[in-house]
């Protein structure tokens, strides 16, 4: 559904690339997570794929359309939920969705149904300007589904939402996946990516470092750790030790044999830890 080959993009239109030589493919119905710290090139890539930024160098096809020569009807296939909410503040939630649906040439969803889905069912007649940040974010998310997109771009879809609402949003994304909607998820929230994505791509400084499924990444790069709390000379001590590294394994044995263990937990490597290990960079 999405093919990207040797994508480059420079805002200054010179050799200073915000995105350089990025290539990947996303299959129909796949949820692909594009992960990286701020300024890594996530939004730039998404901007080019969604047609918001002009394709300068490389080849990109989205839903069979060549992004180099964008046809307006391509947007009938695309849904886009922005990181920063962008709804008309002077219009009600329902008016926002009703206006937006008129801009599409395809069958659209009922605004009331979408509002109900994101927990705004009883807020349809309230002006978006009176909404909280989270409510606006949900309205932006709901709007991205109005044209039944086959390709869905989600930029930080759960940012600023309370856990219950974030769980609802995740459920919706799962439901859409069952309908074979292809999702391009941009986030720096590794937990969301871990839970939702079939595959993830790590991008740093405009370069795509690797692509794989979270499970494979954990198998390949993840180490199991043991967090041990024990008492030594009357003082509580806490250590985190690898279950793979020989030196750490010997240390675990030594602690068990010689000290009073207070707590001991095994811990699987998180996607965030793997990201740091692979890229040498944090996610902030």
């Amino acid at each position: 559904m999405i093919t990207v080959k040797n994508l480059h993009h420079s805002y200054s239109r010179d050799e200073k690339y915000a995105v350089k030589d990025v290539s990947f493919e996303i299959e129909k119905g796949e949820i692909f997570g594009f992960l990286g710290p701020s300024g890594a090139g996530k939004s730039t890539t998404q901007g080019v794929l969604s047609g918001l930024l002009q394709l300068q160098k490389g080849e990109v096809t989205v839903a069979g359309y060549n992004v180099k020569h964008i046809k307006n009807k391509m947007f009938n296939e695309i849904g886009m939920s922005f990181e920063i909410s962008n709804v008309y503040n002077k219009m009600t939630a329902k008016e926002n969705l009703n206006f937006y649906r008129k801009l599409f040439d395809v069958e659209t969803r009922e605004p009331e149904d979408l509002l109900e889905m994101v927990g705004l069912g009883d807020k349809g007649n309230i002006k978006a300007g009176d909404f909280s940040k989270g409510m606006k974010h949900r309205l932006t998310f709901a709007r991205s589904m109005i044209n039944n997109p086959s390709i869905w771009f989600l930029d930080e879809p759960t940012t600023g939402l309370d856990p219950a609402i974030a769980a609802t949003i995740k459920d919706i994304i799962w439901k859409e996946k069952k309908k074979e909607v292809t999702t391009f998820l941009t986030t720096h929230n590794m937990h969301i990516a871990d839970e939702l994505c079939d595959r993830v791509g790590f991008i740093v400084d405009g370069e795509l470092i690797l692509i794989d499924s979270p499970k494979n990444l954990k198998l390949q790069y993840g180490e199991k750790f043991v967090d041990i709390e024990f008492v030594k000379d009357g003082e509580p001590i806490k250590e985190s030790l690898s279950t793979i590294d020989d030196k750490d394994k010997a240390r675990i044995k030594n602690i068990i044999d010689n000290y009073e263990i207070q707590t001991m937990h095994t811990k699987e490597a998180t996607l965030e830890e793997i990201f740091i290990k692979v890229t040498g960079r944090g996610l902030v």
């Binding site: 918001l52 307006n72 009807k73 391509m74 947007f75 920063i84 709804v87 008309y88 801009l103 709007r143």
Partner: protein
């Protein structure tokens, strides 16, 4: 495509009716028209207003009413009170077999002299029919002041359309909604056209309201629309540029006021400067709009004249268009 353009226009209209400043802009043409009606004299208005005593001499009142506006009061005291107000009322009061005239003292000399002459003509029993003068009319049956005010209002209305566009664009920028529209199947040109409709429909509705309310409904509407719409094209282009260049509504409206400088200059030169200096404002499209509308309101406009003025306005606007359109497109892409 038309459906989408219409949707953009209706959205703007709906939002414009919810904001005081934009609602005010929408109503300005009607307000202008009523103010013109209230302030500008009609062709049959006289400049002399007389205050007299009720029932004193009905025959005299009937005679004077042919030439002046006569108001009747019950006694001398009331007539005096009326004359002492700030406007230009002159009192005619009986004294013995004759009459005397009272004034506040600050009336124009012509008003007082005309009152005296009227009183003398009444005493002499002079009739209009007695006049031997032949009247040769140039056919100017429209009050010049009223025509000028109507013309300025129509010009102002065609500029206001651009201001409304600027405000609507600022709203889109403030809400970050242009990027959301950019990922829908509406083309950039479709979106621009949808936004432009406000800048075209306001001048159409505004100028029609003004001419209907002020009593100019007999003018050639088609000629007027041609002139108004061609002037509006330039206003809406400036509206887009100002909207994209400013981040809040008040700044956009403030910046847009700059456009009133050439508008005012064009009107001032057209009205007050001799013919040999008119060329100094030929470069201002609104000068030709004013001239064209002046001819339409005077009912002296010919089609070749209107087409020439329209052509000049479009040519001048076209030059500005070529200069500014890339800026507008870039602005819409970057939001």
């Amino acid at each position: 495509m038309l459906k989408k353009i219409w949707a953009v226009y209706i959205r703007d209209l709906k939002v414009n009716t919810r904001e005081f400043i934009t609602l005010y802009l929408l109503l300005i043409p009607i307000i202008f028209a009523f103010v013109i009606n209230a302030l500008a004299p009609s062709i049959n208005d006289t400049t002399v207003k007389l205050a007299m005593i009720e029932g004193d001499n009905p025959e005299q009142v009937e005679y004077l009413e042919n030439f002046a506006k006569v108001s009747l009061y019950k006694d001398i005291e009331k007539v005096t009170e009326r004359v002492e107000r700030r406007d230009n009322y002159v009192g005619i009061l009986p004294e013995g077999d004759g009459y005397y005239i009272i004034t506040q003292g600050n009336e124009p000399a012509g008003v007082v002299d005309f009152t005296k002459a009227l009183q003398a003509l009444y005493v002499l029993d002079a009739k209009v029919e007695d006049s031997t003068a032949e009247i040769i009319s140039f056919g100017m049956d429209i009050p010049p002041l009223k025509k000028m005010l109507v013309n300025i209002s129509i010009l102002f209305t065609s500029v206001l359309g651009g201001m409304l566009i600027a405000i609507n664009i600022v709203e889109e920028k403030g809400d970050n909604t242009i990027s959301a529209v950019n990922v829908t199947p509406i083309s950039r040109m479709g979106f621009i056209l949808g936004k432009s409709m406000t800048g075209l429909i306001l001048p159409i509705y505004g100028s029609i309201s003004i001419i209907l309310i002020t009593g100019f409904s007999h003018v050639n509407l088609l000629q007027m629309m041609l002139i108004v719409l061609s002037a509006s094209l330039l206003s809406l282009l400036i509206g887009f540029v100002e909207g994209l260049a400013n981040d809040d509504m008040m700044t956009a409206a403030g910046s847009f006021k700059m456009i009133f400088l050439p508008v005012a200059g064009a009107v001032a030169v057209a009205e007050a400067v001799s013919d040999k200096w008119q060329w100094t404002v030929w470069w201002i499209p609104y000068y030709w709009t004013y001239k064209g509308n002046d001819a339409v309101l005077s009912e002296s406009a010919t089609w070749p004249q209107i087409l020439l003025y329209t052509g000049i306005i479009l040519a001048l606007s076209g030059a500005v268009f070529l200069l500014l359109v890339p800026k507008v497109k870039r602005g819409l892409e970057s939001h």
